[in-house]
Symmetry: C2
Subunit: 425 residues, 2 copies
């Protein structure tokens, strides 16, 4: 895309009322817009990043047998009365409103209740199970405070998958599969290094739930990171959430206190065994091969793509701006033309832009009539992984200048060979 | 996808409280689920259709220079006070709720106000215009009645594009471009035949707005269709909405009363010139080449993908079920295996399913252990454009049976040649 056409612009300063580093950088880069505290719109660059994160999560959910749906935000009180979660005293972050008729409706903060009710229409026999159902859907949560930028908002996209299994054994098998899929997702979006599978409290049906915690001083959670590689899981590095950090748990997990280091972290995903809590409430049962009635065993698996995006910004930026991993970057290449004495550089840059686009490279082309310094600063702020500069000076040698956002070194590459050069990198 | 894995099933009867034909068929086919009156979830088959419609609209919006964003549903009262549209007496379909702090927030029924406020941060000079900004975003409208299935709901996805132009001339040029893009969209989704560009009232800044009305007895609108081809527009067939059907308008449009026939229709899109109504309220201006301040001219352009989906069902179904146009069908081919004496038919069907999938054909494979009659009835209800049956009988001849959903005739095609046969059809 031509940057001259992009309706957003970068800005030097973030709004004064914005305290979170992720939101400051994302607003300055023109990725997001703050509508009010805890509510951000995604602008063209930001939506591209969000969609790439969504795409990666979707691939991994489909790979473990997930079927995608899209449920409503509007929630019927009747459904939530069954689990006693309608009451504001039980759930303190509901947004509620009223239909014209006067009936109360809520805005879903999660979807266990309506999905369990829905599945009751489709599950009768053991042949109907297992089922793994997920969505990317907007949740509403009436958070008291919202000061973490796009990491904790009152309205946000969430991938929530719910598993419906025949028994504990097949539930556990899927749960482990989902855990591995999550590890893969966080590796793919560039957060693998800093993300720990974290034991957290499990509720009434399971000793533990598992959180995926990314080390960051901007995190709201405290975890204890196991620094002893010999006691880590195959699926990834492990940690313990402060809420279950005690001698009993340490013993059970075979961990030694001195190996564990306290860190701040951001929860970017969690998986949870629900047992029969919801199938009990909705009488979600199936008949087995012998005609016996059994309860369905459930699990839930959440990731907020916006929070993942915020966490990438918090953990991978430098003092010049954002550093996107290629897998989620809004574009792969930032092509910068520096206008010279005559129109030749511009026309060569235009040709290169066409050529790269035709080769399937996603290019943001800075064709603006602006100074080189301004273009470089904007490129660093926006954080596209590869920068290519074309100027009178590089063209004299028949070359362009190539640089990675996260490295200092530049390389002159022959103009004619840049497409194959990029494909090899 | 294997139908045995799909968690939804067809059902013989629609729920008794459902009166709309589109919702009856879509619920029976397992495309949607009713959460409450006016709120439907999209299940795997339904979401696939919706996403195809969204994909077509997105392509056409990008083709006319649209830039995609995603705004919040939560709305700040302050912004809406500027146009006096916060008041329930002015806008009667708000859903409103409260933050923990006690502040009122609304759920957006449209986005002119917040987007105009947003654009104020990015528009200063004539160089920043034009801008065409759109989103696919969930609107909330507190409808008094909701009896039209997915065609009028309290929560729905909407594509809303807003144009920001330098002056009336460039606004009108874009408006005509958008009109043509809309004609193309409705042709591509299979509604071209029955859809009329309809003159409707234009508000304070324009004599007319334009609606896209699809003939259907399920429609809530009354339009007067011009049956005289010599006075139709190049871009498509025209009609007049009842609200502006009078002698003055007829004269102005050069139409003759006796050519116009009264019909019921569904409004599946509308485009609207907004003039300076919103730029006045938000002081959205730009400096021209001479340094003079000018007001931005705006337009808005809406399509509800869910309503389009409902309209396709209303207008293209037959007494056996839904008939999807190929462009929006959840799958292209419904492959049906009829189990025979031994396992051979099943294994040939499995192989064919793999082969078609590898060739990039989107196949729903009915591999269920069910009677042929049940499979055929389900295929008719679900409405995938092409049905392929593989059975002992067809395999005896080394063939499969091919049939279009909207034709009676069947054709025996050599098993080995089915991929090339499909690509030619």
């Amino acid at each position: 895309m031509r940057q001259s056409k992009l309706f957003t612009k970068t800005r030097k300063e973030a709004p004064k009322d914005e305290t979170a580093q992720n939101a400051k950088l994302l607003i300055r880069g023109g990725f997001i817009h703050k509508e009010m505290a805890g509510a951000y719109s995604y602008l063209p660059l930001g939506l591209r990043v969000l969609e790439k994160i969504v795409g990666i999560i979707r691939e991994e959910m489909n790979a473990i047998g997930g079927q995608e749906i899209s449920m409503t935000a509007l929630q019927d009180k009747k459904i939530w009365d069954k689990t006693n979660r309608w009451s504001d005293e039980v759930v303190d972050n509901w947004f509620k409103t009223k239909l014209k008729s006067g009936s109360d409706v809520g805005l879903g903060f999660t979807h266990e209740e309506p999905l369990t009710a829905l599945m009751k229409e489709y599950v009768q026999s053991y042949k109907d199970l297992p089922a793994y159902v997920y969505q990317f859907q907007t949740k509403f949560r009436n958070e008291e405070r919202a000061k973490s930028g796009i990491m904790r908002t009152r309205e946000f996209l969430m991938k929530d998958l719910y598993s419906f299994s025949l028994n504990e054994k097949s539930h556990t098998e899927f749960y482990e599969k989902a855990k591995k899929a999550y590890v893969k997702i966080f590796e793919r979006v560039g957060l693998g290094e800093k993300t720990f599978i974290t034991f957290a409290s499990g509720g009434s049906f399971s000793k533990y739930s598992h959180e995926f915690q990314t080390l960051s001083d901007a995190g709201e959670d405290t975890i204890y990171v196991n620094e002893n590689p010999s006691t880590s899981l195959k699926a990834g590095k492990i940690a313990i959430n402060k809420e279950v950090f005690n001698d009993e748990v340490l013993k059970e997990l075979g961990l030694i206190k001195k190996d564990l280091v306290e860190k701040k972290a951001i929860e970017i995903g969690n998986i949870f065994s629900l047992g029969t809590r919801f199938s009990d409430a909705f009488d979600l049962t199936y008949l087995d091969e012998k005609g016996q009635k059994n309860k369905v065993i459930m699990g839930s698996y959440g990731i907020g793509p916006g929070r993942v995006m915020g966490t990438i910004v918090e953990t991978l930026s430098d003092d010049k701006g954002i550093v996107w991993p290629e897998s989620v970057a809004p574009f792969t290449v930032h092509l910068i033309s520096i206008a010279g004495k005559d129109g030749k550089t511009i026309s060569e840059a235009d040709k290169l832009y066409e050529k790269l686009s035709k080769a399937g490279v996603e290019v943001l082309y800075d064709d603006r009539d602006a100074r080189a310094g301004e273009k470089f600063a904007d490129a660093d702020l926006i954080g596209i992984p590869v920068r290519i500069v074309i100027s009178d000076k590089t063209l004299e040698k028949g070359k362009v200048e190539w640089k990675r956002r996260n490295e200092e070194k530049t390389e002159l590459v022959e103009l004619e060979k840049i497409v194959s050069f990029l494909s090899k990198k």
